[in-house]
Symmetry: C2
Subunit: 262 residues, 2 copies
């Protein structure tokens, strides 16, 4: 049965979507069957996999509006083993009702994710930058959560409240249900420029603060990764041997071995 | 009487906070009296002006909890003419009640901003990355709004719905009150790397899509600007002659002359 990993952040623009798409791609190329669930109304996931939001035939919202199973809403990607589903939002009314549904019907969402486990080895959930309804729903549905950390001080300084939020979230889940999920899968550094003092400062500080929870793989700052939304496919396809792509292959390997080691 | 400008985005990490602090600093150094109102619970503004969020004596929330006038909550900064106020959030409960207040008591917030106009030439409101309650309150309180655009495709692709949102927001304001505010002050490119195809692609596309609404000043990608949160002061102080700082001085001049030209 599949494993559900949610990518969360409080700070904006730290690489959640880039990581969801490229980690998903790397896992797919290593033989996993992967589903990426995009929860950001801006639909960075679908654009990064070649589909304009307006061209989506259907979207996540159908779970709520028509009780359609999630598994019937899944879309193909440029990679054989990689699939995605995201909101199909073409108006402000769409966006408001999507957020309202994620708020009020998180249980339905979690149930649909649970049912999808039969079909996918890994389900990656990409969240908007906040601790609002989509992030809470993503945590409720997840076995584990991943925290990308942009190697900049403004991002590093916003981590502690994020970790408190998840700890608090876990406590608020029904205690009788023995919920220890979602566990922390790991934090990992993104957009690292190791030649700058800032890059080294944040790397050292995060290593000190989080110890073994900080994954060994970090993703370098590289323009090739930004082309994803133009090319409509992950860098692990269009720039496979470059540093950004290789980092995501390494991240995939590291996550798989950490999981097997438990 | 002061002018109220809100910095908004739907995409995360596009440079709202960096721009609020450095534009505010540049205006202050040109003789304006400036207030930066931070609406992001993560308090990037206070950290960038030398104060850890836990060390704040008071915060924006006192407007709601104790009916304290905004003008009494204002904090000094390393610059003589530059002041700030931000939420003082030290727990999840704080964060939730702040967001609930911004939602239900946006009128009180707008009234307090309005009263502050007597004391400041320019009030800059820094928002979290979303179209939620703080952004709506910031639009309600503003004369004009500014949109930083990170020179990357994932950001460019999320602009149209943002502009629709503000147009819709304006329409929903009481029509009888003749509300044409907030007007679009302008969009401006940030984190531009002009040597990359992506940088040039986004620059050209945004110029084509927005014409004269795209400000002439763009902010280059430069590590010096990222040091703001470590140094606790704007780059216009610690790195005044560098490209990032000069861009914000130019942005301040451009905004002032555009305003005077009307
Ligand atoms: N390693 C990297 N090197 C260079 N640019 C990157 C890297 N990772 C992401 N980017 C770029 O940085 C920007 C932010 O990344 P991304 O959109 O993936 O972050 P996010 O956390 O999903 O943002 P949001 O908070 O808005 O959802 C994008 O323009 C992306 O192309
Ligand atoms: N011109 C620039 N060059 C290099 N780095 C920059 C530049 N502007 C901002 N940054 C860095 O990019 C990151 C995001 O910037 P910032 O926090 O100002 O954006 P934001 O829109 O306020 O983010 P959020 O959506 O989380 O509020 C920060 O780490 C900041 O230091
Ligand atoms: Mg994203
Ligand atoms: Mg910010």
């Amino acid at each position: 049965a599949g494993r559900v990993l949610s990518l969360i952040s409080r700070k904006g623009g730290v690489g959640k979507t880039t990581s969801a798409v490229n980690l998903g791609g790397a896992l797919a190329l290593s033989g996993h069957t992967v589903l990426i669930v995009g929860l950001d109304p801006q639909c960075g996931v679908c654009r990064s996999l070649g589909v304009a939001q307006d061209d989506l035939e259907t979207g996540l919202g159908e779970i709520f509006s028509a009780n359609t199973p999630l598994t019937e809403l899944v879309q193909p990607s440029p990679l054989e083993n990689l699939f995605f589903v995201s909101p199909r939002i073409t108006s402000l009314a769409d966006e408001e009702s999507f957020l309202a549904d994620m708020n009020r019907r998180a249980d339905d969402f979690a149930r649909e994710i649970d049912r999808a486990r039969n079909l996918y080895d890994t389900i990656l959930v990409d969240c908007p930058p906040s601790l609002g309804a989509p992030t809470r729903a993503a945590l409720q549905a997840a076995d584990a959560f991943l925290v990308p950390i942009q190697a900049e001080e403004l991002c590093r300084g916003s981590l502690a409240p994020l970790m408190d939020f998840v700890a608090d979230f876990r406590r608020r889940q029904l205690p009788g249900a023995g919920r220890e999920t979602p566990v922390l899968e790991g934090l990992f550094l993104t957009m690292v420029n190791g030649r700058t003092r800032m890059g080294r400062h944040v790397t050292d500080q995060v290593a000190e603060d989080f110890g073994p929870d900080l994954l060994e793989t970090s993703v370098p700052r590289t323009t090739r990764l930004t082309e994803m939304a133009l090319k409509g496919k992950p860098a692990v396809i269009y720039a496979r041997t470059t540093s950004g792509s290789r980092a995501y292959f390494n991240l995939a390997d590291e996550l798989v071995s950490r999981f097997l080691a438990r």
